[in-house]
């Protein structure tokens, strides 16, 4: 195996004076998949933001295909192949659905035809403005918008949060398709632990800003004791 796609080495980072992540290390191979689990407020979103370059790094390094990108600004990381789907979806309200998709698109296999095939509903809504969409449509649009930049890595921040079960099923099917396709790596932050572990190959659990546990996803899925301890009632509640 050559260089990993993404590698974090002892990353300590946060916002201004507030340090949120302490000594986080992780590795993701090309086309790999990693579930990022943990209770609310343990730093999962902050970790994604740190990978994108939005937080202040105190120490440690972020490596992309072996190259240190710790000081590279977010828009450059995006052009290098980082793709980020924000938790709040953050659709551009004054752009149409189609403009949201094409505004930052870069050439590659993911074009309008490809994302419309994955999310036909977006095709029906292509002339609508970004602020006229339901939550599920926004999530599809945010995911499709990131895919249109043809990233090598997709960071998904709680894609299923607050959505109806039918929509969740559709999104899970889309993520399965992406992973089976073997052209993209995914880091998935998800409150629905069992969904995440079913999709991904590896998993890490964060607690108070550090990696409390790391294991292959199928192993962690059976390790109810660890899940109970680190993720809590979620497991019982969502089964």
């Amino acid at each position: 195996m050559a260089e990993p796609l993404l590698k974090l080495e002892n990353v300590t980072a946060g916002y201004g004076d507030a340090v949120v992540l302490h000594n986080v290390s992780l590795e993701l191979p090309e086309n790999g998949s990693l579930a990022l689990l943990g209770r609310n407020g343990v730093g999962k979103s902050t970790l994604l933001l740190t990978i994108m370059g939005y937080t202040q790094m105190r120490s440690g390094r972020v490596l992309w295909r072996g190259q240190d990108v710790s000081k590279v600004p977010p828009h450059k990381r995006a052009t290098m192949g980082f793709g980020w789907v924000a938790q709040e979806r953050e659709i551009f309200p004054s752009l149409t659905v189609e403009e949201n998709l094409t505004v930052a698109a870069r050439p590659g296999p993911w074009d309008l035809a490809a994302v419309f095939k994955m999310f036909p509903r977006l095709n029906e809504r292509r002339r609508n403005m970004g602020n006229q969409l339901s939550g599920g449509e926004q999530q599809m649009l945010a995911t499709a918008r990131a895919l249109m930049t043809n990233p090598a890595l997709l960071l998904l921040d709680e894609p299923c949060e607050g959505l109806a079960p039918v929509i969740v099923d559709e999104l899970i099917a889309a993520m399965k398709l992406l992973l089976d396709d073997k052209r993209i790596a995914i880091i998935l932050v998800e409150q629905h632990t069992e969904i995440a572990l079913e999709l991904t190959a590896d998993a890490i659990v964060l607690e108070r800003g550090t990696v409390a546990h790391a294991a292959p996803a199928p192993v962690l899925a059976k390790d109810t004791a660890t899940l109970e301890r680190l993720v809590g009632l979620r497991v019982a509640a969502t089964v």
Binding site: Y54, P74, H75, F92, S94, L95, R145
Partner: protein
């Protein structure tokens, strides 16, 4: 001669078109980027002096100096943006006002030092002088030319912002800078280009203004007042709003001076107060 009513309306519209070209750039930078640039008319004045110099010293044809005025103002704004303005995008309004009004004062002093404080004379080309008669009414050629330029600018701007990828990137960056960066849009460069475009239009406006209102070093401040009124009456960031407000202010200014000389230049302030009491966000404003 035109009957007074049509004459006032036509002159007012032409004057409004001039004010529109001067102000639309500020509407974009203030409305879209939330940057208070009180040196906007200093860029306009720069465009004016570029045209004066090229016509009088280098004998360029007037029309050829217009793109030069645009480019000079745009380039000057890129330099200022890169070294000064960019640092203040996230600063308070007061900081932005203090910096940019400082530049406006500097521009007045520099213009007075180089060109003196007298009005700069300029001779418009033959075909833009005099007037043409349609349906028995005489229209000033230069004023018709102004209206034509303003319509072209409006169409290009709306088309550029609404229907091009660059326009979509500007709107995306304005909607949500963080997300725009996260998708790979170089927000700093997008804003710098937008800013240069707005300043370039001001430069064009300054060049077009010489024939109508003259040019001296006080231009930076005299027209800043008009431009700010138009931006607030039209609504921040709205091109159509600036267009409507510029027509309204242009016509009221000329009408005020013609029909009520004792009220004179104050009519536009009354119009502004009435519009803003009726619609505090401006005619086409959203916030």
């Amino acid at each position: 001669m035109l009957p007074p009513f049509f004459g006032v309306l036509f002159d007012g519209l032409a004057y409004g078109m001039l004010l529109f070209v001067l102000s639309v750039g500020l509407s974009v930078t203030l409305g879209l980027m939330n940057f208070v640039n009180l040196a906007h008319c200093a860029f306009a004045m720069l465009g004016g002096y570029v045209t004066v110099t090229l016509v009088n010293e280098f004998h360029w044809p007037f029309l050829a100096t217009l793109p030069a005025a645009f480019v000079a103002a745009a380039l000057a704004s890129v330099v200022l943006e890169r070294f000064f303005y960019r640092r203040l995008y996230r600063a308070s309004d007061l900081d932005q006002v203090l910096l940019t009004i400082g530049f406006a004062f500097i521009s007045v002093a520099v213009a007075a030092y180089i060109f003196g404080t007298l009005q700069q004379p300029i001779q418009a080309p033959e075909f833009l002088r005099g007037s043409s008669t349609f349906l028995g009414l005489a229209f000033g050629n230069y004023r018709m030319f102004l209206i034509g330029v303003a319509i072209v600018v409006t169409v290009l701007l709306i088309a550029g912002l609404e229907y091009t990828r660059f326009g979509a990137q500007v709107r995306a960056a304005v909607d949500n800078q963080r997300m725009a960066r996260g998708l790979g849009i170089d927000v700093d460069r997008t804003f710098a280009a937008t800013f240069a475009l707005g300043s370039g239009l001001a430069g064009l406006g300054g060049a077009l203004a010489i024939e109508i209102v003259g040019l001296d070093p006080s231009f930076s401040f005299t027209y800043l007042v008009y431009v700010l009124i138009i931006v607030s009456v039209g609504g921040l960031g709205s091109i159509a709003g600036s267009f409507a407000a510029a027509c309204l202010i242009g016509v009221s200014d000329i009408a005020g001076k013609y029909y009520a000389p004792e009220l004179g230049a104050f009519l536009i302030y009354l119009v502004m107060v009435v519009v803003l009491m009726w619609k505090p966000a401006g005619l086409f404003g959203k916030r």
